[in-house]
Subunit: 428 residues, 2 copies
């Protein structure tokens, strides 16, 4: 029995109850949304993981990407990154390793953290070959099966990169064509082998595997725009349409899913992308990488992503994939993962402050901070802050004797107004 | 003759021509917008400064705040911060010093950079007293006159904090009351002295001074919300209304101005704030501090400000005041000023990508970056990047022999797709 089968029968399971408790909502609502496919709780039957709900009425979640590359293979480093992401508040982790003993790395990461783990099996199928295009469709499905058996909670498959979307690409005028790694493998494979994408043409087989392990499917956006110029174009929307059709089939197979989205999108097109995807994919939970709101800020793409992510969250995005300062430049370090996770948590919270169903809960936290600020109660401020440690460090590096902060000292607006209010009160 | 007098007569001056050249627009348009008050070029007659236009149809500008505090008085540090802000692309600098020899500090900063300089004269009037409330209204106006004579290009006056807005404050339910430093001085002064704000009640006198030196007036938002809870409330809108009336009087006096805005605003209320202010202030150029989209990220308020600033820019904000990582915590260091300036430049550019009239120019830059990315042309990428130095440093810290970056190495999507396209081309 998959969770979705239970949900469709109206059975409220312990997983639904756990998520309902942590979100402060009714388990019945969770059950009904899972049945409809608007909430997903990724949790492979082969693994115990923290139960998180992604989707409608729930708080915005954050994923951290980690993993080795061909050039930097250090398992301990990746395990440390996974622990850092968890410690700083990530809700899920994707292992995107492409270098070294991939099975061992995945196992080590899954053992190190309790968060749900996602992966991209085609990376392993491709990375095991001399050339990406040499893998067979069996290699691709076998990689999926291996990950499922190992307990991966959700897998990304780029099933939307098919002959149809590639036709749209060829008739378009993209600058960066395909920038999704899995999308590029799939595209190269299709060109080389003269066949359609097996994950698309044999999608039912993929669903069989996913159902067996109750593994969630993350419908990857292999055609996502890789620059501002390419945003919201016909290949993007063609893929949204295909993904929407696959969402329908996934739900019919009682498998949970979510849909991945762009990418690089200017701020005035984010609403279009988010609402377009939600609409074309029948309100499946939406998982965005960014979106990055400009191309020209390498070194700061955790910030361009947080800008886009906040607005996308407000428009209805459920799950934000962090970007790090190393995006477009290098394999992230542990510090990059820390920074990326924190900044994406900020975006998720800022989105929740504006999301129906989340506003009240989220605003109560900011209100507590506001009271602590007015009272110059620094310890409470640091305890509420997303990264109280860094806040404390900055304050203490340049202290003042005034009780305020060293920006204003005894000219602090809070101090002056608090005093004026007292004076007024006494005068009455 | 003030620039606005010229503009109203249809005289196209060298200042208008300079801005038109740097923005790639018609000088006639600049002239007509200055006449209407929708573009401001701050430039005191006593000082030569870089000519920048702020307002309609123009690129989004960035201001950097620097200045000593009571507890940290080091003139060389502040001069270095001013140089840093200019070097990293700020369009204007405000000297907010409150500690030390304020005249000397202001002079040193004005000598060190060519950017337009703004100040808040009430800081000097208040800081020279034993208690803020001891200053006289003469002290306040004398400070304005001194700054004008010294060549300050724009001054902030919190003329919107008056008996009316304070009534709205008292009938409301704010948590943080007044968080503007100048606003708090004014409020305390009014309570203590039982009089209305001189900058409001004698606003014509202020305009006389400003006109004499053709100094622009920045209508400060002393009532700006200091937390998410207080955003978009009645005291805020009361101040917008007052500021709108003052905009009208300022224009009638042939003095250029802009209007300052919040503050802390959740992302779903930013459009309301920006459009509300634009509407109530007859499309005066709008200058925002942030807005910060959450209260709970001290240490990262350059980022919460960049998130709000990008969206606010898209909604029509003309001028973004940077926040730094030290916001709410300490006097910023030189590194903080660098970081704050860069991140705010990112927000301004991301806003321009979405602004009518700016899109085409801004997108051309991102398109060049996208081409460089596809071609794995790293030197060009670094030359286009907002902070190419840091981008290069990150890439070079973890290099790969593949020509790509160390995230993907030879599994780089760009490399794989470029190769597949070649293969396809040859196959034809």
């Amino acid at each position: 029995m998959t969770l979705m089968e239970d949900a469709k029968k109206g059975v409220i399971t312990s997983e639904m109850e756990a998520v309902a408790r942590s979100e402060g909502v009714e388990a019945k609502m969770i059950c009904s949304c899972i049945a409809k496919g608007t909430i997903t709780i990724p949790n492979n039957t082969q693994r115990e993981c923290r139960l998180i709900g992604i989707g409608k009425y729930l708080s915005t979640k954050v994923n951290a990407n980690i993993g080795t590359s061909r050039d930097y293979i250090n398992i301990d480093d990746e395990v440390e990154k996974a622990r850092t992401a968890q410690a700083y508040g990530a809700d899920a982790i994707m292992d995107l390793s492409t270098g070294g003993d991939l099975d061992l790395i995945r196992k080590r990461i899954m053992d190190a953290v309790e968060l749900p783990i996602g992966s991209v099996p085609i990376y392993q199928a491709a990375a095991s070959q001399k050339a990406v295009v040499d893998m067979t469709s069996d290699d691709m499905f076998n990689a999926v099966r291996k990950h499922a058996r190992d307990g991966v909670d959700f897998v990304t498959v780029h099933a939307g990169v098919n002959l149809n979307s590639i036709q749209r690409l060829k008739k378009g005028d993209r600058i960066t064509n395909i920038v999704s790694r899995g999308g590029s493998f799939t595209y190269a494979w299709m060109i080389h082998n003269g066949e359609d994408n097996p994950f698309y043409s044999e999608y039912d087989y993929l669903l069989d595997i996913a159902r067996e392990y109750d593994m969630a499917v993350s419908l990857g956006d292999g055609m996502r725009p890789g620059c501002i110029h390419d945003a919201s174009d016909r290949p993007s929307f063609m893929e949204f349409i295909t993904l929407g059709e696959l969402v329908k089939r996934t739900r019919e197979a009682d498998v949970q899913c979510f849909v991945e989205g762009p990418g690089h999108v200017p701020i005035d097109e984010i609403e279009l992308s988010v609402k377009g995807m939600k609409n074309l994919c029948d309100n499946a939970p939406l998982y965005l990488l960014g979106p990055l709101v400009t191309d020209i800020a390498p070194g700061y793409d955790h910030i361009t992503g947080a800008i886009g992510g906040t607005f996308a969250g407000m428009c209805g995005t459920d799950f934000l994939c962090m970007t790090t300062p190393a995006e477009h430049l290098a394999l992230p370090t542990n510090d990059d993962i820390r920074e990326g996770t924190i900044v994406t948590k900020i975006a998720a919270h800022a989105a929740d402050l504006a999301k129906e169903g989340q506003k009240e809960r989220a605003r109560a936290i900011d209100d507590r901070m506001a009271h602590a600020r007015r009272n110059l109660d620094w310890d409470t401020q640091f305890s509420i802050a997303i990264d109280g440690e860094r806040a404390r460090q900055i304050r203490e590096s340049r202290i003042t004797g005034s009780g305020a902060c060293s920006m204003c000292g005894d000219l602090c607006a809070m101090k002056i107004v608090n005093k004026a209010l007292e004076e007024e009160e006494e005068g009455k």
